[in-house]
């Protein structure tokens, strides 16, 4: 693509069109962990399409490698998935422990040991330094905090420019309370060393500028994308309820403090007082699950709130398609793919103003996460006025085309090119 004499494209020596990126991440589809793997997958796919060679380094996790190879079977030359000896698990606090089999006794009984997640991140970094010496590449790109140290180690080992991709921060995960000091320390140190930082929203950019003291000029915003195909329609779930004329409000996501499910339940109480024909479905699991179940009981909402467990793939799609409104009540959401997925399934969303996706998604209802009265008001209004729901879907879907992974990859590719230009000049 650089052979043409297009004014808008800088002319590069040919070998740069095969730029090779050493990418570190810890989650890749079809693992079932949330938006991060989806983002890495979408971005990598589109970058490969652009002729970028991606070496994706994942900590060793069962299935991950085989699955990833399976997904990129067609592009095998361009995407190379490497595995390292590590046991990182996504979305864990720094002091949560990772259990692994370190060997076997003579009797065949496994020897189980554990390490903290920070220790794992350091181990990952150690491996990364070795890989950086073995492989040839132009740029290092590390996704999310567990890979930051690996990225930094690779940079030190190779001297190549480093991009850190911020999908979430310690402040998001902790909803600004009790921020994990060891994660915060890793973030600050890595941000200082990185050549460029990519955040998934201006919301997150502001946050790291404010909280981590990052120079805003170093930060580039690349909004996450979304797949633009129209998914297949399935037989809806909860048909019985729908036949009774009940309306369904869906929460889909992890049940953690960051996601604001407790505010959602408080809004549900207000909604049900006005309109008892509304049912709330919570699809997901997380460390706050039992607390939320207790809260539902204590607020007398047991007949109005359904816990569906964590739903994936077809089940998840069916759930989306059965809902009348999807709510993402996040306290602090760097991006948030749920409302975009919901749109694909033809369901409008209510999101919080503390969500990065709101910067690109106009056709959604927006509230402050703490304003449960307003959240309830908007849920009830959405149920009263179906015209508004259909318009949010129709116009929102048109906007989805602007939000493809292709657009995101274009920006990242541009960033790679600027970095390489800087290196060569």
């Amino acid at each position: 693509m650089y052979t043409c004499y297009d004014e808008s494209e800088p002319k590069w020596p040919r070998f740069f069109s095969f730029m090779r990126i050493l990418t570190f991440g810890w989650d890749f589809p079809p693992s079932r962990n949330g938006g991060l793997g989806v983002a890495c997958f979408g971005l990598t796919r589109e970058l490969s399409q652009k002729g970028v060679e991606v070496i994706f380094v994942l900590p060793k996790r069962q299935n991950a490698v085989g699955d990833a190879r399976f997904i990129f079977a067609e592009d095998e030359r361009k995407v190379k998935v490497r595995q390292v000896e590590s046991h990182l698990k996504p979305y864990n606090a720094a002091d949560s422990r990772v259990y692994f089999i370190s060997g076997y006794e003579s009797s065949g009984k496994p020897i189980i040991k554990s390490r903290t997640i920070v220790e794992e991140a350091h181990r990952f970094a150690h491996q990364a330094a070795l890989i950086a010496q073995e492989e040839e590449f132009d740029i290092i790109h590390a996704h999310d905090w567990t890979s930051y140290l690996a990225g930094v180690a690779a940079k030190i080992a190779s001297g190549k420019p480093l991009i850190l991709h911020v999908h979430a921060t310690s402040y998001d995960q902790a909803a600004s309370e009790n921020v994990d000091p060891s994660i915060y320390k890793i973030e600050c140190e890595s941000f200082a060393i990185a050549d460029k930082i990519v955040t998934v929203s201006s919301f997150t950019k502001d946050l790291i500028v404010r909280k981590h003291g990052v120079n805003p000029a170093k930060v580039e915003v690349v909004h996450n994308g979304c797949d633009t195909f129209i998914p297949t329609r399935h037989e809806p779930l909860l048909q019985g309820l729908k036949n009774q004329g009940k309306k369904i409000i869906l929460y889909h996501g992890r049940i953690t403090i960051q996601k604001g499910v407790d505010y959602f339940i408080r809004a549900a109480r207000i909604v049900v007082d006005v309109d008892p024909n509304i049912v709330f479905v919570i699809s997901g699991w997380g460390d706050m699950t039992s607390q939320i179940i207790n809260q539902v009981g204590a607020m007398g909402l047991s007949t109005h709130v359904i816990f569906a467990g964590a739903l994936w793939e077809e089940e998840r799609d069916r759930m989306y398609q059965s809902a009348d409104l999807v709510v993402m009540p996040s306290v602090s959401e760097p991006f948030g793919l749920v409302p975009l997925e919901a749109l694909q399934h033809g369901v409008p969303s209510l999101i919080t103003k503390q969500s990065g996706v709101g910067e690109v998604l106009v056709h959604a209802l927006k509230v402050d996460f703490w304003d449960v009265d307003e959240m309830a008001n908007k849920i009830l209004s959405a149920m009263r006025y179906p015209v508004m729901r259909s318009q949010m879907v129709n116009e929102g879907r048109r906007d989805l085309d602007r939000m493809s992974w292709k657009e995101a990859a274009k920006k990242v590719h541009q960033l790679y090119k600027t970095l390489l230009q800087y290196v060569t000049s």
Partner: protein, 461 residues
């Protein structure tokens, strides 16, 4: 000979507060926001009065005093007049003073700045009449030229105006309908003989209204000399330059630091410096010139956005839903005969409410966002529809009450009739007196009247 016809439109709506579902049936006040946001109507009037109405009126007064030829036109929505009266009576007085000069014309309009003509002509007529009365009462003036909300225009509206005795009507001088022709002449609508259409010169008008403070504009900064030259350049190819814009252009849309006030202050002097240039009000313009041709506008034409149609108000589904819901209530609202309910219903017809729900995201969209006090079109729709739901509830209560009253009245009547018939004692029918009896009666009456006869009879006995 070239005349300039400046016309400034003064309007503020009653913005609906953040009216929630829970308020339906509990809160009858939709327009009384008291927060520090732009939903607070009193706060907006205070703000715009200081930024625009007070300083601009002072300049206009000064211009009228110093330039005996200077004249212009104003149009007011009833909603802004009501708010001036309540929140800024001094502003209203300064407008009255301007009009008292005899060189400021007021245009006819709908009272509630509504799009009623396109949805219900009878309702439109009621609003125009109400506006006419209000203008007479406040300014002792009877408008003779019509302008409809957002300069919306269509052939049938022009026909209506002619039938109702107006001299002229205003419209956007849009190329789609003008073709190669110039907006600087008067035209007539098809099938009309008397009424003339005054077309806005949108290039020259928008240079002031929209582009004046835009630093990215090639002609920025625009000074009054240059602008006067642009107008003088039309000598020979036009009769009237119609400069129509929002009054709030001065100080509100274009802030004081853009130099807009100095521009306004300098312009009339510079324009009339050219001997053959003068000012005319719209009715003077309509009376001075003949129509040069027919202008045929079968679809709605407005002065908004690059589309110049109604899509800024009724372009998307939520806008259509809101508009059809409110006009669908007409029959019931009118049947309540309640002044308060009808007035509230009309305040909700103000076109601004629908403008806030617009989702066009082009360059126009930015304009919409600037003018909207809501954070999103959906917030605007929710507040509006919830308020409307409450109004529907009140209307059906009022109708039920009316029905009850009517029933009670009927019952009372029935009871009255019954008791009346029960009380009425029918007098015994008098038997027809015979001739002899009549004679006897007559005799005794005569005897009774004449004392001497009475005496004779008694002496006889």
């Amino acid at each position: 000979m070239l005349t300039v016809c400046p016309y400034f439109h003064v309007h503020q709506p009653y913005r609906v507060k953040r009216y929630r579902v829970f308020d339906i049936g509990n809160d009858n006040e939709y327009f009384n926001d008291s927060s520090e946001t732009d939903l607070n109507n009193r706060r907006i009037i205070d703000k715009v009065a200081n930024k625009s109405y007070r300083p601009t009126n002072a300049i206009l007064q000064e211009l009228l005093d110093t330039h005996p030829d200077f004249r212009f036109a104003l149009s007011f929505s009833g909603t802004v007049l009501d708010q001036f009266e309540a929140y800024a009576p001094d502003v209203l007085e300064s407008f009255q003073k301007l009009v008292a000069s005899g060189r400021v014309e007021i245009l006819a309009d709908t009272y509630h700045h509504s799009l009623a003509f396109f949805y219900s002509v009878p309702e439109f007529e009621r609003q125009v009449l109400k506006h006419k009365k209000r203008i007479k009462e406040l300014f002792n003036f009877t408008p003779r030229v019509f302008r409809n909300t957002e300069l919306s225009y269509r052939n049938d509206l022009a026909k209506w105006c002619e039938d109702n005795g107006y001299l002229g009507i205003m419209a956007e001088g849009w190329d789609k309908y003008l073709g190669w022709r110039s907006p600087n002449f008067l035209y007539h609508p098809p099938g009309c003989k008397k009424i003339k259409v005054l077309l806005k010169n949108y290039k020259l008008s928008d240079d002031v209204a929209f582009r004046f403070g835009n630093q990215g504009w090639s002609s920025w900064p625009l000074n009054a000399e240059t602008y006067a030259q642009w107008i003088h350049a039309h000598h020979g190819d036009g009769q009237t330059i119609n400069l129509f814009m929002d009054y709030e252009t001065f100080g509100e849309h274009q802030w004081e630091d853009t130099g807009i006030f100095n521009f306004l202050r300098a312009l009339p002097g510079l324009l009339t410096r050219h001997g053959d240039t003068s000012f005319k009000t719209p009715s003077e313009t309509a009376l001075s010139y003949d129509s040069v041709g027919e202008i045929d506008v079968p679809d709605v034409l407005t002065w908004a956005d690059t589309d110049r149609d109604l899509t800024a108000w009724t372009g998307n589904d939520i806008q259509k839903d809101a508009v059809s819901t409110i006009y669908g209530m007409e029959e019931k609202v009118m049947a309540t005969k309640s002044k308060e309910l009808i007035e509230t219903w009309r305040k909700l017809q103000t076109s601004d409410h629908f403008y806030y729900m617009c989702t066009k995201w082009s360059q126009d969209g930015d304009v919409h966002a600037y003018f909207s006090p809501y954070q999103s079109p959906y917030d605007a729709y929710i507040a509006f529809m919830n308020a409307l739901s409450d109004l529907q509830l009140r209307v059906s209560h009022a109708l039920a009450l009316n029905e009850e009253k009517a029933l009670a009245r009927e019952e009372r009547k029935l009871v009255e009739v019954k008791t009346a018939t029960a009380l009425e004692v029918k007098p015994e029918p008098m038997p027809n007196p015979t001739t002899w009896q009549r004679l006897k009666n007559w005799c005794s009456q005569v005897v009774g009247r004449l004392p001497f006869l009475r005496m004779i009879i008694s002496q006889k006995h």
